[in-house]
Symmetry: C2
Subunit: 402 residues, 2 copies
């Protein structure tokens, strides 16, 4: 028997530790591995041999802890021809630690690393297997129905929009609140704001995604129209909206700070200034910021359970001898929500971005359709059984990283 | 028998509906009132006779719904000499609706209204009673130990800082994250960030409150020092920090937008630019913004229960014939946390701001002391039993306001 090793990379989500917990649990329950090791700080930490034994970790608590328990790196492994010594070093360390399977949980760069290392293993006839377990709050990976981490981010965003609705509704005045949501290229997160709507709540009144060219005049018209109808207007907007020439709308807001440097406002702030200037009503921008990817206290139970399952499934696929694959999820139906897990060749998703389909955006380009809502709704269902200590979430100790 | 009437005013908190639920429940259980009426939009809505019957409302659900179920107003009632007709109108409407007791839940302006109306009642020998039930996330009211709404805001802020710690810890690089927290005049909310610290977490590394004159050079020194020690540094800062001349530090960040208008950056953004310029490391600002006052999903059970109790207590005091008073809470001990309710003359708190005591701030002025933490800790204890529907909090229908 040999060991397996797991690492995490890319940006945080509330579910990436659930995938880690799934790998650890799967490895422990399998008869194929002695120990489940973890490398700190992704493949960079692996090269520094920052390795710890995860076999006896509390996987329940781990699965409910946001961000990366093992830390992360933003590192694109060079092509073999450019840095053969890095590949050799990685394989030396894996062999030294008796590792025959490497699970890499992360986004596009991590999948690229899995691709390169598995190709190298084939070329050198090395028996070490490499399996990618995806995650990204952005939900913009192809082939898979959705990505671990997205459901929890969507649940936090929709909850925040619902609470913002309660907040903005109290004064009978005209005002515009612009809520800026993450998403440079795809509108999956901003679109999830639509889930805040319910029997009584119609907020957000408008939603703008990067998939549609942003038109300033139409935006002002739409906002004026909604002010007429509702008084208090709430707009959800992707940080990544661009004009018809593909230029980020924030680029129009450049100002010079007191140090003489050019500063860009955020997207929300840019629209706030536009509304104040063109309509003359009270306006403010709210950026949901870091909490949308790290608010573990509002994680989606569905997301956490699916992430654990993908980790466990990755171990099964390793036992079947697979390498150079990424775990995928496929949907059979929305109601009842039914899915199954599978794998895809790691190169099938590389570098491609899954956008919100045009047919899931309304004609005016200022809202999502019911199809979008039916797609996201199952992903935010269920609340996690998080324990609290002294009034705060009782997360895993991350003092290794602090 | 007559009716009582309740209204809400000022800015949102996660507990102001719990006080409302307490008044409704108290009125229903008392033998003194036929109906419990509610005025929409505070005393302004009362003057427009926007009144609804609250007697049979679901008080459990109401108590867990953030922001104001009845809507709000920002209205300072003029002195009687300047607008006698407003006083007469209010009393006419109260009498027409057979109201003999008016409960006003709100902040300083609401307490001022209670003061003026009860004085008018005395002067005119009217028998209508006026009782103030305080709330403010700012916790800056005098006489009372703390204010309803503060504990829930503190719990959300501390949770967010803990989650930000998990988020920022993942990369082994030098970076500074500035978290901007509400509080123009007092540092109670920013200080609550210290509660994020636990067995493993030392974030936030630095805390700046409006009670201490902000010194740019010392700040840069402190941040440099923490970068040396920790790499990733997280700073919590009140939006209201000022320099030694009492000038808001944001005033140094004025830039001109593309419309030619002067724009102030937020406090966090101002410090972000300062860190980038003077230290040259990666820096970013995160503004917690609206969610800190309206994230009902992270309300403190202690805060909600105390707010309900203050509402019920207000009804008891009305039955005893009191008028022109505000409900107060007094602490007997931190451990075990023991308090009792009382009343104070409504004019005792008017216009005064309760600051964080100097002895609860460390000597360097960049952190709070253990005494501060012991004071806040009991207020964030316990989680609410919030129901969810379709994956989101199941709050009260506020379609009257939307």
């Amino acid at each position: 028997m040999a060991n397996c090793l797991v690492a995490q990379s890319g940006g945080p989500t509330s579910a990436i530790n659930a995938s880690l917990a799934g790998v650890v649990r799967g490895a422990k329950n399998s008869k194929s591995f002695d120990k489940c090791l973890g490398a700190l700080h992704g493949v960079q930490g692996l090269m520094n041999e920052e390795i710890k034994d995860l076999t006896d970790i509390d996987t329940k608590k781990l699965s409910l802890t946001p961000s990366m328990y093992l830390g992360s790196c933003r590192y694109k492994l060079p092509e073999y021809a450019d840095a053969p010594e890095e590949y050799e070093k990685i394989f030396d360390i894996l062999k030294k630690n008796d590792v025959d399977t490497f699970f890499y949980i992360g986004g596009n760069d991590s999948m690229d690393t899995v691709s390169k290392l598995s190709a190298y293993a084939s070329a050198k006839d090395e028996s070490i297997q490499f399996i990618g377990v995806p995650k990204t709050i952005d939900n913009d990976l192809c082939v898979t129905d959705h990505t671990p981490g997205y459901g929890s981010a969507a649940k936090f965003i929709a909850t925040t929009l619902l609470e913002v609705s309660h907040d903005t509704a109290i004064y009978p005045i005209k005002s515009v609140t612009i809520v800026e949501i993450m998403g440079r290229d795809a509108g999956w997160l901003a679109g999830a704001a639509a889930l805040a709507r319910n029997d009584y709540n119609v907020v957000p009144h408008l939603i703008y995604l990067p998939e549609v060219a942003f038109n300033e005049d139409e935006f002002i018209e739409d906002v004026k129209d909604m002010i007429e109808k509702h008084g208090n207007v709430v707009v959800a907007v992707s940080e990544g909206i661009k004009d018809k020439d593909g230029v980020y709308i924030t680029s129009s807001s450049a100002t010079e700070d007191k140090f003489g440097h050019s500063q860009l406002s955020g997207t929300g702030k840019t629209l706030e200034l536009l509304v104040k200037e063109k309509i003359g009503v009270k306006a403010r921008a709210v950026e949901i910021n870091i909490p949308q990817r790290t608010a573990g206290h509002m994680a989606s139970l569905t997301d956490i359970e699916e992430s654990i399952a993908q980790g466990e499934f990755a171990v099964e696929k390793a036992e079947e001898g697979m390498s150079g694959v990424m775990i995928t999820i496929h949907r059979l139906s929305d109601i009842p929500y039914t899915t199954y897990l599978s794998t895809t060749d790691i190169d099938d998703t590389a570098g491609l971005i899954k956008h919100v389909p045009k047919k899931w955006i309304n004609k005016r380009g200022n809202d999502v359709t019911d199809e979008f809502i039916q797609y996201v709704k199952p992903l935010i269902q269920g609340e996690v059984d998080l324990k609290y200590k002294d009034g705060l979430p009782d997360y895993m100790d991350i003092s290794d990283l602090l």
